[in-house]
């Protein structure tokens, strides 16, 4: 009996504790919720907004280590915190960054960079020298760092292969001539080598801070000491990232913002924008009608810029029946891209006729696309006699979820309606998808390609040249290869673009891809924010932004 009483007492105590705590909680939450009484969303409670501060809904980065970032979200923060030899300005022109000027040898393989002499690390500890660059670039290539992107952007360097394979202690192509002069030698002349240097893998990091941390040790990144326009004030995991201007920044215009706060958690960005909690927001197809309405005040704040990317459906050209160009063509002709772009996506995307997006140097508006013609498509398909082989074919896409992309569902429905073939969408999770695509175990797949740098080579050469590791379709056309090889040499730009036009037209005719859409960024910006543009791909832009509030 005594033990029972004890249990009752204990239970009573527990319940009373819960009551007391619960009551306290109710009391405090009723008293001060930390919100400003706005209608639908209360602001994630942060220090009060300060003069000249930009607040944006931000993505959660995977890493802030320049040598390790393989995704655009991480890169978008890294380019503001770190910098390298060269970069792109707002107009996508290549400009000198830490390198003040450079010389290129006659044969196009030796680049000599003369560095600015006054660039300091953000913590004022010391000046950036050519040694720091050698350290940082070798770190990206070093197999011990375990970076998946180092070699993608830096393997042009002479001696990189030996270094990666462990046959050499350093990269012979990276030479420090003196503290202010860095000499890079590449294996063969490459018109886009400088473009590749704008990617984070070539950015300089502080060796005293990083020491020998590899990609699996991110502790130093929380106190990142870089040379970019901003420095990291705080990274509150899963909550927010706060940047402040780097007083040692050397390029003009210098950052005009007093602070940038990226809110990582939170509800809908659009609603937060309407409640004045963020200064910029993207516009999706669910909101675009509201925003396009000219009677809506939001309409004045609406901007769209093209983003250099294309989404497409790729074929495995080595697998029947996709080795027959007429089959591919028929499938392409049966898709009403205008309908998809206009109805499904409310004109947030542009239907793609060619491969290279508008606004990309090398874009060819005269490219002759494959047009939507369902009757001709059916005739063409029937004439190949392979219509039956298409039934049960799978189009592979990355994703995990009960409902795959609307676009793919619509496309397969169109094929069903227009051609009478039933093709299924198969979702795989991303890792498996990538390895299946790599190994050619697919019939069709759906993916997108985003520009790394503003040059048609990035779209055409990497994806369609025979043997290129990014050429997943297995497409091989010697004519195209010849054109592309020629374009790789050092020839005037007009000539290069001409070669790319020809290559692109051939690729469009051969249709190893069905290009679907060119994407655009659609967003709203508050009127008191000036200079904000969403760049076509990841480049540092925050230093051009001013907030007058």
């Amino acid at each position: 009996m005594e033990t029972r009483k004890l249990v009752y007492v204990l239970t009573g105590v527990a319940v009373s504790l819960i009551v007391v705590i619960g009551g306290l909680v109710l009391l405090v939450s009723g008293g001060g919720g930390g919100d400003d009484g706005s209608s639908s969303d209360s602001s994630p409670t942060l220090p009060a907004r300060q003069q000249g501060e930009l607040r944006v809904r931000g993505a959660d980065p995977i890493t802030l280590d320049p040598a390790c970032a393989s995704d655009a979200d991480s890169a978008s923060y890294i380019v503001e915190l770190f910098s390298g030899l060269v970069s792109f300005d707002k107009d996508l022109k290549l400009i000198p960054d830490i390198a003040d000027h450079w010389d290129v040898s006659d044969d196009g393989t030796v680049y000599t960079f003369h560095l600015r002499t006054t660039v300091l690390f953000a913590d004022n500890s010391r000046r950036v020298t050519a040694d720091d660059f050698k350290y940082s670039m070798e770190r990206s290539l070093n197999p011990d760092t375990q970076s998946t992107v180092g070699d993608v952007y830096l393997d042009d360097l002479a001696g990189a292969d030996d270094f990666i394979a462990g046959r050499a202690d350093s990269v012979s192509g990276i030479k420090v001539l003196d503290p202010d002069t860095l000499e890079l030698t590449i294996k063969a002349p490459d018109p886009v080598f400088l473009d590749k240097l704008t990617y984070p893998t070539s950015f300089v990091v502080d060796k005293n801070q990083v020491k020998d941390a590899n990609c699996s040790d991110a502790s130093w990144t929380f106190r990142a000491n870089g040379t970019g326009p901003f420095k990291l004030a705080n990274w509150d995991l899963g909550n927010q990232i706060v940047l402040e201007p780097n007083p040692n920044y050397y390029l003009d215009p210098k950052p005009a913002l007093s602070r940038v706060t990226f809110l990582i958690s939170g509800g809908s960005s659009f609603t937060m924008y309407q409640n004045d909690e963020v200064d910029v927001t993207g516009v999706g197809k669910d909101n675009v009608d509201t925003v396009r309405d000219t009677t809506n005040p939001l309409n004045a704040e609406y901007h769209t810029t093209p983003s250099l990317s294309v989404s497409y459906i790729g074929f495995n050209v080595n697998k029947a029946p996709f080795d027959d160009p007429n089959v591919r063509k028929a499938l392409a002709m049966a898709i009403d891209k205008d309908f998809l772009a206009n109805n499904l996506y409310k004109q947030l995307l542009d239907p793609a006729g060619g491969i290279v997006p508008p606004d990309m140097p090398g874009y060819d508006s005269t490219v002759d696309p494959i047009k939507y013609d369902p009757t001709a498509a059916k005739t063409l398909l029937d004439s190949t006699g392979k219509a039956n082989d298409l039934n049960g074919v799978k189009i592979l896409t990355a994703g995990q979820g009960a409902a795959p992309d609307d676009v793919l569902e619509a496309v397969t429905a169109m094929w069903q309606q227009n051609l009478g073939v039933s093709i299924e969408v198969e979702q795989e999770d991303f890792g498996l998808f990538l390895s299946d695509v790599d190994q050619g175990s697919f019939e069709m797949f759906s993916l997108g390609w985003v520009a790394d740098y503003p040059d048609a080579q990035n779209f055409l050469d990497l994806n369609f040249h025979t043997g290129n590791s990014n050429n997943k379709t297995g497409y091989s056309n010697s004519e195209v290869d010849q054109l592309l090889d020629q374009a790789r040499t050092d020839i005037p730009e007009a000539q290069r673009n001409d070669l790319y036009h020809q290559a692109e037209q051939t690729v469009v005719d051969d249709e190893p891809w069905i290009p679907l859409f060119f994407a655009r960024s659609s967003y709203l910006v508050k009127p008191y924010v000036t200079g904000y543009d969403v760049p076509a791909f990841v480049i540092p832009t925050l230093r051009y932004v001013t907030v007058n509030k």
Binding site: V7, Y8, I18, V25, P61, S147, V152, S219, G431
Partner: protein, 326 residues
């Protein structure tokens, strides 16, 4: 503590590491056995397949599963549970615990409200037997106890967020109180707590109601009443006595299922708790994080069940001999 109970507890405690090992090995093996791993996911489409293969090898992902597992256990025993993959390179605990704290905040409140409201509500419903309120309350309780959270959340969102505009659209906000990050004291917490409490109260009230009815029907109550004793005092004492055991069981199950139960609510509302973390980690093949969550969840479950059984042991001596309650 009576010696029978002590040895029982010790027996149960000894099994805990065994269970943890078995469960963790299964989770580990499954994770490794699944095609795709975080290296290829993070490498993205641009990467050179050879580089990816090399890194995979360097990270030890090509070694046989049992070797990898042995390494994992060895490290774990030294307190190193690995690093997360999103964000990459952060020790697993540093990502897990803040997220766990969010889920705990929500669920503590839910449990408190469930008890505080459910018990009296169920009792009251029982006392209303014979009136129209009886079938009505049965129906109401059953409804809210049955309808899955998956369904109630979007509908409540529509009502409370869209139509009435009282609540934010999801997400989570925190403030610092006495140096601790508290998220529960904001409007963002209201919807998840409300939804979970609703089904919890409904279930508990149903149970209390049937318990109270059972007591009310027993002879001694009628006898006591006929003697002039106050009915409700008698009811209360006996209800508490009889209902205590099962209520403790139910409480235990709720606590134990903390992580699993939060997955849907957190996914639907974008709340950065441990349920959402579990879901995300599986998608990104964040092996170390998955393992940590599984270990944590299993430990909570097993220890809670043990506590429940200890309580049983105090209250009901029949259990101690390893009898039928199995």
């Amino acid at each position: 503590m009576p010696s029978g109970l002590a040895s029982y507890v010790i027996r149960r405690l000894l099994i805990v590491p065994v269970i943890l090992l078995i469960v963790s090995f299964v989770a580990f093996a499954l994770g490794r056995y699944a095609p795709g791993d975080y290296v290829s996911i993070q490498a993205g489409p641009r990467a050179n397949p050879e580089t990816v293969a090399r890194i995979r090898h360097d990270r030890g992902l090509d070694d046989p599963v049992y070797e990898q597992y042995a390494r994992y256990v060895w490290n774990a025993l030294h307190g190193d549970f690995g690093v997360s993959q999103h964000p990459r390179g952060v020790p697993v605990q540093d990502v897990l615990f803040p997220r766990l704290w969010v889920t705990v905040q929500i669920n503590v409140l839910v449990l408190a409200f469930t008890w505080l409201i459910g018990i009296p509500l169920g009792t009251w419903a029982a006392l209303k037997r014979g009136t129209w309120l009886d079938p009505f309350s049965i129906g109401l309780f059953l409804f809210f106890a049955s309808v899955p959270v998956l369904v109630t959340v979007p509908l409540l969102e529509w009502a409370l967020v869209h139509k009435l505009g009282w609540l934010p659209t999801g997400g989570w906000s925190t403030r610092h109180i006495l140096g601790v990050k508290i998220g529960i004291l904001s409007k963002h917490a209201i919807l998840p707590v409300f939804v979970l409490t609703l089904s919890g109260v409904a279930g508990l009230a149903r149970y209390m109601r049937s318990q109270v009815l059972e007591v009310l029907d027993q002879d001694f109550v009628r006898t006591a009443r006929s003697k002039g004793l106050r009915g409700d005092v008698v009811v209360f004492r006996h209800v508490v006595r009889n209902a205590l055991l099962p209520i403790i069981t139910i409480f235990g199950f709720e606590l134990a299922g903390l992580i699993g139960g939060s997955i849907f609510v957190e996914t639907l509302l974008g709340i950065p708790g441990v349920g959402l973390l579990a879901f995300e980690s599986v998608g990104t093949r964040d092996y170390d994080m998955i393992m940590a969550i599984v270990l944590l969840g299993t430990t909570i479950f097993v220890l809670t069940m043990l506590l429940v059984d200890i309580a049983y042991g105090f209250i009901d001596p029949r259990v101690r001999s390893g009898g039928s309650a199995g």
